[in-house]
């Protein structure tokens, strides 16, 4: 069936099978393979994107459920020549190795910072109200949906910490 999405600020229409996940729609139908498929079951976070500003696992939702939604993928954050500050920090901190989980880590981190700005607490937050202080423990907790088998975790968090409000 036909779907229209706003992907990285651009109106995109596609005709697709109702069984196509949002992840596969991006990777196989919209030529945006930057979003990765690691498990297809919402267990690894490699497919994290922003839908209407909030992070989700794009493998766990069908493309046809997103008529009119605003989608942001890694390609929308910044290209190789105009990297966002977070992307640049992943490079300089070596917050990756093989690079496969990396777009998901970066999109998840971007969504996570927005959640923290909006006062959303996490399991390790000292208080349920007010702004969270994004300590390393907070970042670790909030990023634990994104696996990295190369295990670049300390360096991923170093890159993210450079982009929190406190550090700006």
């Amino acid at each position: 069936m036909p779907i229209s999405l706003k992907v990285n600020g651009v109106e995109r229409t596609l005709e697709c099978d109702t069984r196509v996940s949002l992840l596969d729609a991006l990777r196989d139908h919209l030529d945006l393979p930057g979003t990765k498929k690691g498990c297809d079951h919402g267990q690894c976070g490699a497919c994290t994107i922003l839908v209407n500003g909030r992070r989700i696992n794009s493998c766990l939702t069908l493309a046809v459920m997103h008529e009119g939604d605003e989608i942001t993928t890694i390609e929308g954050l910044g290209g190789p020549e105009d990297l966002s500050p977070m992307q640049r920090d992943f490079v300089s901190c070596d917050g990756y190795q093989c690079g496969y989980c990396t777009p998901g880590q970066i999109m998840s981190a971007t969504g996570m910072l927005a959640e923290a700005r909006d006062g959303m607490p996490s399991h390790v937050s000292e208080s349920l109200i007010g702004k969270a202080n994004l300590s390393d423990a907070e970042i670790a907790e909030r990023m634990s949906g994104n696996l990295c088998r190369c295990s670049a975790y300390p360096f991923i968090r170093e890159a993210i910490a450079r982009n929190t409000e406190q550090s700006q």
């Binding site: 079951h41 190795q97 093989c98 989980c101």
Partner: protein
Amino acid sequence: MSDSFTMNEAQPRLLDTTDQGLIGAPLDRPEGALKVSGQATYTAEYHPEGMCHGVLVRATITRGTVTGFDETAAAALPGYLGLFHGPEFLRNPAQGMAGKAPTQPGDRVAYHGQPIALVVAESFETARDAAARIVVHYDEQPGAPVDPETAPSEEPDDRTVQGDLDAAMRKGAATLDRAYTTPGHAAAAMEPHAALAEWEGDHLTLHGALQMIRYNKAELADAIGVKPEQVRVLAPYIGGGFGSKLGISAEHISAALAARALKRPVRVVMARQTVFDAILRRTETAQRLRLAAETDGKLTAIGHEDRISNLEGEGFAEPTAAATQFLYAAPNRLVRKTISRNHRTPSGSVRAPGEAVGMFALECGMDELAETLGICPVELRLRNIPEKHPETGQTFTAHALAQALREGAQAFGWDKRTEPGTRREGEWLIGMGVASAARTNMLIASSARVTLTRDGALVETDMTDIGTGSYAILGQIAGEMLGLPIDKVSVHLADSDLPGASGSGGSFGASSAGSAVFLAARKIRDELAKRLGCAPEDVRVDRGQVTGDNKKAALADLLVEPIAMEASIESGETAKTHFSSGFGAHFAEVAVSEITGEVRVRRILGVFGVGRVLNEKTARSQAVGGMIWGVGSALHEELSHDPRTGHIVGRDLANYHVPSHADIPAKMEVRFLEERDDHANPIQSKGIGELGISGAGAAVINAIHNATGLRVYDFPATPDKIVQGFMEHGR
């Protein structure tokens, strides 16, 4: 590949005389911008015109014969293109460096989950649906042994027997005789195994998530019955390997066969569950460690016996006692292995095969023996460092164990370690643990080509970068040798049309492929010397200037004609006379909840001697990655098998627990000791990625003991085992 350099003697340290400042420098990865912007293209991300999609059909019996497939329900689906199976299909992936097809079982099934056919359709969704609709008929042979305890076993004859272990155990002032068990592990690389096959006439191009291109090309050609020159394999980006992508597997063969039959490109990506079932796992182990020592801590006996498992016909046997063979001196030694032949998913190389699990026994055993003797575990290790390889008598090359233990202890604050079970912060018991690190270092035949023009240098080899940093370090070696800034060097990798290198495996890639690049660049320097008019040994090439014998020229002026050189290296005499290994020490601090048994790792320090460090940043990442794998194997990771079928249960990333952010502290520190391994290779470097895991888990387990007084012998040390220990000790 005319004149291959053979490593017959120690080589001069040329990289210590160059002045470009690239070697060792913590440079960013050159492909970094592509990776963080989603522009690095992995196997499944090419979309050639007309591509169709394959999904593997897998056996639902453990042992037997496939007698037929019923396609009726699948064929009714619009977009269904066909079912492919036959004699070329593989039973399991090729083992590392096989260079020929693995077992091709025809219609035989040897383990639950074995790929037996491929369904191809116009879309992934249709192929997935169709694969589920294929009805497979079997002639099942029930009763396949799947329990390593009771399955038939065999003993390879390469055991070590020196002196009399039993006598030494009887006489020892202090002895230890313990059984340790480790479960199977999955590599669980983030990129699922994938292939994209495309034929042009009788030539196959295969994009594959593969670690060893030179071998993979030969394996693929052999498996499908074509000549190697008809096959091209490409893998510019690989989403992690850790041994799981060493050899070709079902997706490559089936994609190639279907693409040939359909005359269309075929993509096959394994579902995550298929990766768990059909990709080689790390075997479970049952180990017995025996140690005997004098009162001063001098070991008199080391015995390490282990039972591992693999499918009949697989040559790979986890070398569990690899480090035990050379880490500590003792006159009486026994190393013996038993291989259980059963019908679980076959086993193969997963990061540091051998050391990753064998060092749990050795290093936890040393910790316990130190306690029995009343000697500091750091000191006990220092007292038992051998002067020569205890089994072979070979001379060690650069050997950093003592220095790593001493410097690590000081940097970590080891002197603040208290008696077991005495340091407490509320419900948390705090402890520190230590373990040695050791991982054999190898040089594997490699070739590379370097081309130098006025615009810069181009490095070409089929070496892969699986996240290890090959793109970075190979460029740094060429730039350093040719006096170029790093942005004047480009690196082309992982194309089987390029000179063949070792590939990524066994931590030998950087040193082996790096040495080939070094030698090719050295040939270019020789040519530059000739063009300048000086002796090759006098030439210096730094920062765009070529000098020698009081002559000087700008590099560009000597490059009216470009220079292209290819070089090859292979191991030689030094590998016989000398024994090269990375060494190091892991120090871990943990907190253990007295209530829940949860273990929190607070900090880990790894101190390593890895020869020359080629890039401090990527080297650190490799080491830390390995150390975190150590945490995973100590605390979380465990493959479980259905006792009836051997089938892996919990075969996904929610049930197989790899470490996540919340499991890993920010304080993962690494120190590299200043070291050159002159006998290893001409760049004096050694492997890193596996040294980081070797011993790391044992340091965590030993820290748990120091925190709680408990010893765990059955890994991983999950909370249930800790709580059980508390209950048994009346807490």
